[in-house]
């Protein structure tokens, strides 16, 4: 991974890799799903057009190439998040499936009646609902860490909850709705000291600031390919090897077995024990190309660029009368700006912005408990990535002013 923090992104050059931007859209919804560069779609097309075949089982050339490229992504991802071994890198469909895997395979076995599970009010539904289901099934209960008025987790309350020795602590590295960057390292360290197993949801972390899972010290780390320039349908669960060894399979069937006899089955080694059935081969290969792309840019440069755009957007939006910004100051947030306008529903704003080809998210951002906590039904959200430039923020400001003119 690039460590030269001083390097700046060449956004004009980057934009040339994203054909979709040629249409003139200002794509401000990357926290929802990112765009994919030609390098990613090209790697996928190369597989589909030249090596399309199933992996791990065929004894002919194109299947060997397919297997090699599919497994090649695992090493790229391992290096990207600095995991100790490729055995700790499990392919999933995305963050949601990764967390469900943990809730099912680890949770059902390890969470006992009366246990406490700690999540946070900042989390999106993928990191809430699986725990609710697990808690109901195993008789555990859930406590939610609240936020302060800046949209940051109340660390005092978190420490108090840790005194009750939660079985599991699960939280997002970065909030998708407010952009809040949580002090993940300190939180993991405190939770580990309390004896908890810790899952960090990296859906908004891995794509925008990267991660070093060993330095972070978490037990599980989940993220999606499609939010980091990769395709939909390919994501990652990182888990410490001892945990994976002790866990039962999630889904079962082909490819995750060693031997199947009518008397019983022995499971495949890690990581394949958790990868049942024919996988999303082209998508995993695309994810590998996305990791290459981000590696070439350097995650420090990615973060620096997003911070610059976010600061610019935060200032531009702060100047608009009747606009309420949610969440922490730009220095403490990722490339996400959530806001509301007096007298204008976010959906109406999004429709007006769409007329200017500005793609804006309006809604609850799959974080309804957080919206309830903020006392709003929905917000408008602009989110940024490596290809975002300041004139797109200017176009957003233009759409907001147009909406205010229409609704005056």
């Amino acid at each position: 991974m690039n460590t030269n923090g001083a390097r700046r992104l060449d956004v004009a050059a980057i934009r040339k890799d994203f054909p979709i931007l040629e249409s003139g859209i200002a794509y401000l919804d990357s926290a929802n799903t990112s765009q994919r560069p030609r390098q990613v779609t090209g790697a996928m097309m190369d597989y589909f057009e030249h090596f399309n075949s199933n992996i791990h089982r065929a004894a002919y050339h194109i299947a060997e190439v397919a297997t090699e490229r599919y497994e090649g992504t695992r090493e790229k991802v391992r290096a990207f998040i600095n995991a100790a071994s490729t055995k700790e890198i499990i392919y999933t469909r995305g963050t949601t499936e990764a967390i469900n895997l943990v809730a099912y395979s680890w949770g059902r076995k390890n969470v006992r009646p009366g246990d406490l599970i700690v999540v946070t009010i900042l989390d999106h539904h993928s990191n809430i609902v699986p725990w609710q289901i697990l808690a109901a099934a195993n008789g555990a209960h859930i406590e939610y860490v609240d936020i302060d008025e800046r949209g940051e987790l109340r660390q005092d309350q978190f420490r108090e909850l840790l005194e009750h020795s939660p079985r599991l602590v699960a939280f997002g590295q970065v909030s998708n709705a407010l952009g809040t960057i949580n002090p993940a390292r300190e939180m993991v360290a405190a939770a580990k000291a309390a004896g908890s197993t810790v899952l960090v949801d990296g859906a908004q972390g891995a794509p925008h600031q990267g991660v070093d899972v060993q330095a972070l010290g978490c037990d599980f780390y989940a993220f999606s390919g499609h939010k980091m320039l990769g395709p939909t349908g390919a994501g990652i669960l990182y888990a410490r090897r001892e945990l994976l060894e002790a866990m039962d399979p999630f889904q079962s069937g082909g490819d995750m077995i060693k031997t199947v006899r009518i008397e019983g089955t022995t499971y495949h080694d890690l990581p394949w024990k958790f990868e049942a059935g024919t996988q999303a081969i082209g998508e995993v290969i695309g994810l590998g190309a996305a990791v290459d792309y981000l590696d070439a840019l350097g995650m420090d440069a990615v973060r620096a660029h997003e911070r610059e755009i976010t600061e610019y957007a935060y200032e531009a939006l702060s100047d608009i009368e009747g606009l309420t910004l949610y969440g922490p100051p730009p220095s403490r947030r990722s490339g996400v700006v959530s806001f509301s306008l007096d007298g204008i529903h976010p959906h109406d704003l999004a429709t007006i912005a769409d007329r200017d080809q500005v793609c804006l998210r309006a809604g609850h951002h799959c974080a309804m408990p957080l919206m309830t906590r903020l006392g709003v039904a929905a917000t408008a959200r602009a989110s940024f990535y490596v290809y975002t430039q300041k004139d797109e923020v200017d176009r957003l400001v233009g759409s907001i002013k147009e909406a205010q003119r229409i609704f005056k």
């Binding site: 529903h345 007329r355 609704f407």
Partner: protein
Amino acid sequence: MSASTAADDQFYREYILDHYKNPRNYGRLDHPDITHEEDNPLCGDVVGMDFQIRDGVIADIRFHGRGCAISQASASLLTERLKGIALDDAKKIDKNDVLGELGIQISPARIKCALLPLKVLKVGAYGLASDDEDEE
């Protein structure tokens, strides 16, 4: 893009905005014969309606709620149409009537907003039995 631009220009026609800013029949009835509320959790739109029925006719109606211009204007327009007509006729109103009344092209993403008031009417009118009061 030009087609959608034309549609969007129409989207916030004066009378839609007028119904949004100055909703007709807005508020609550003291003793409604039917009261029902629906929401669209996706965007947080809420529409509720109170009906007063006299001899099978909607003698009075009020709506309340919050949300986007489309859902609230649609509710306001629908109450204007419902006031004074037979409940049986009200039940016949369908989505084409509602969309026609709005008179604008609604994108698939916003169709739920436009039709939320109709859902309130349908569920409310068909659930006229005492069930509704139990709920309250």
